[in-house]
């Protein structure tokens, strides 16, 4: 049977992708950020999964206001890096895992989560920047990826609680897949940032670090945090953090297993307009 071996949490700031693509990662502004991901790159190399289930949000790229799915699972064989207005990022095409994705869709929908199934979709920086941060600049991504897009553009996004419960359903779905695949679940977005209005540029270091503490130690309580706390304390775009709870809900301690092992934790301000947070948890 398939199993979830680890979960990864990271911000997905577009400027990080641009810095890598334009060869600026060694500049003093970016160096501390990329240094914080060095242990993660080594870890992923030593612990490459068979599939990554990657939770992210689209930023008015694949989904305009014509359709706004709350939860959308990518079931295609491949996903092209999107042209977000300045040409597609020069990164590899994302290879999907249609069999496992279809299995998860069927299992999770029968478990009361009404997913939108997407068979054709380009993926934007929300998905490719986390891959770049942990894989660097390879010719091909190290394994197939199942994109899982969450609406956080039009308010309200799904609640933290709903995301956490969905994570549990995703774990049940993956663990009922016959092939013995090793799967990682990644939750991306955040941390504190606001990109609009007079309050743009908001960063809340205290909130972010308390969120990381609680994500690791007490995700059940964290999942009850209301939207207004994210929006007020972490900025209008900081509410992306609910996506991390999907990945956390998929870990085995939530279903009565052992607490996960913290492999790495990192926090840095700023990346352009955003605070960057990162953690890796392994099931033991």
């Amino acid at each position: 049977m398939a199993r979830i071996t680890a979960s990864v949490y990271t911000s997905h700031v577009p400027a990080i992708g641009a810095a890598l693509d334009l060869g600026k990662s060694g500049e003093p502004y970016w160096q501390p950020l990329f240094k914080g991901y060095e242990p993660s790159k080594a870890w992923l190399k030593a612990n490459t999964p068979d599939v990554i289930f990657l939770v992210y949000n689209d930023h008015a790229t694949a989904f305009s206001l014509e359709m706004i799915p709350t939860f959308a699972i990518g079931c295609a064989a491949e996903f092209k890096p999107a042209d977000e207005g300045w040409g597609p990022r020069p990164v590899p095409t994302v290879i999907g895992h249609p069999e496992l994705a279809a299995h998860i869709a069927q299992s999770v929908i029968q478990d009361d989560f009404d997913l939108t199934i997407v068979n054709k979709m380009d993926v934007d920086h929300g998905l490719t920047v986390p891959l770049s941060l942990l894989c660097g600049q390879p010719q091909a991504w190290p394994c197939p990826v199942i994109p899982f897009a969450v609406n956080v553009v039009q308010f309200p996004p799904p609640s933290g609680r709903r995301c956490f419960e969905l994570g549990k359903a995703i774990r049940r779905a993956i663990e009922s897949y016959d092939e013995p695949l090793n799967v990682q679940v990644w939750g991306t977005g955040g941390m504190s940032h606001q990109l609009q209005g007079q309050r743009a540029g908001l960063i809340n270091r205290e909130f972010d670090n308390a969120f990381l503490d609680q994500l690791i130690a007490d995700p059940d309580s964290l999942s009850r945090k209301p939207h207004i706390d994210y929006v007020r304390e972490a900025g209008s775009e900081g509410v992306e953090l609910v996506m991390w709870l999907i990945a956390r809900g998929a870990m085995s301690d939530v279903a009565g297993g052992q607490p996960p092992r913290l492999v790495h934790r990192f926090y840095h301000v700023p990346a352009s307009n955003t605070a960057v947070g990162h953690a890796i948890l392994e099931n033991v």
Partner: protein
């Protein structure tokens, strides 16, 4: 029963909810059209004529022509969509962010390097600034 919107008292912040999305539908879809190079060219060649192809309000068109992002947001714009206007103009996102705060891009970049805008005094409209 009316909907609970507790986010209305956050200073300098417009939450893009269903109401804003309805107001801004054509404005945001206009922005979305700028993802295509040929549309960017047509827009740049004659902004007013391009805008007139969209059933937007006059206020929305004026806000776009003035590149006043706060006005665009008040008229239903969403920042991820509006960012496509900045991309068409060849502006960085940080330039756009600064333009909404009343700071120069340099001042804004400096604030971010120093740890960003503090949450203190920025939680509630009318809240007294600390220190």
């Amino acid at each position: 029963m009316s909907l609970d919107k507790p986010y209305k008292d956050i200073p300098g912040t417009t939450i893009f909810d269903a109401e804003q999305s309805r107001l801004g539908y054509h404005l945001n879809q206009f922005c979305m059209s700028l993802m295509k190079a040929e549309n960017r060219e047509r827009f740049k060649a004659n902004e007013r004529a391009y805008l007139d192809e969209w059933p937007m309000t006059e206020e929305q068109k004026q806000a776009v022509l003035a590149r006043d992002l706060n006005r665009c947001i008040a008229a239903g714009g969403n920042i991820y969509f509006l960012a496509k206007i900045g991309a068409t103009d060849g502006r960085s996102f940080q330039y756009m962010a600064a333009s909404m705060t009343g700071m120069t891009q340099e001042e804004y970049a400096k604030m971010m390097l120093a740890g960003g805008r503090s949450i203190e005094g920025n939680r509630f409209i009318g809240e007294k600034k600390h220190g």
